[in-house]
Symmetry: C2
């Protein structure tokens, strides 16, 4: 689950699903769904970690071993239902970008 920390991903290459969204007003079940989806994602094969923040726009980046792992997670039944409800009411707009992480570097105090 997202825990306000930087995902401990392995050496590249691996894949990122960058999900950026703008919410409609009100919660309407969104918070519980978002928490549930983060928990479910973490249980999927090939999951490597997630980072998430909302502040006007919401950005959730999940990291995966392969494109197939991302495609499989997209097809999980409860996730499909969340995607449908997202289009129906939770999101004013969103964009998902599938990307191959080619290198990384960082810093830890």
């Amino acid at each position: 689950m997202a825990d306000d920390s930087i995902a401990a991903t392995p050496e590249p290459p691996y894949y990122a699903a960058i999900f950026t969204s703008v919410r409609t007003p009100g919660d309407d079940g969104y918070g519980a769904m978002a928490e549930r989806m983060l928990k479910m994602a973490a249980e999927q094969p090939g999951y490597l970690g997630v980072e998430s923040a909302r502040d006007g726009v919401g950005i959730t980046v999940s990291y995966w071993r392969s494109l197939e792992d991302i495609a499989n997670w997209k097809r999980v039944a409860e996730h499909l239902e969340a995607q449908r409800t997202g289009r129906a009411k939770w999101y004013a707009s969103f964009k998902t970008r599938i990307a191959k992480v080619e290198r990384d570097y960082g810093f830890d105090r």
Copy 2:
């Protein structure tokens, strides 16, 4: 600049610099620098847009035409100074991931 909206990126492929960070306590010049860097990034060759949110962890995803454009922006003098000060005091930890966006899809109400 980041304006709480989803970046209007072109058709893939293009590149993303996913910068995730955890701040040290206090502002200490951070806010002004962050605003200045978003403004400067938007003036660089190959810049395609940015999305940014902070909420515990901070995530800034900037989008670029090519890896060379990202490398050039990393070397801009004022940006180098921001990177140095970030390591010296603003960030408890950070990770930058360079990724090739291979496909995208979205929704706009």
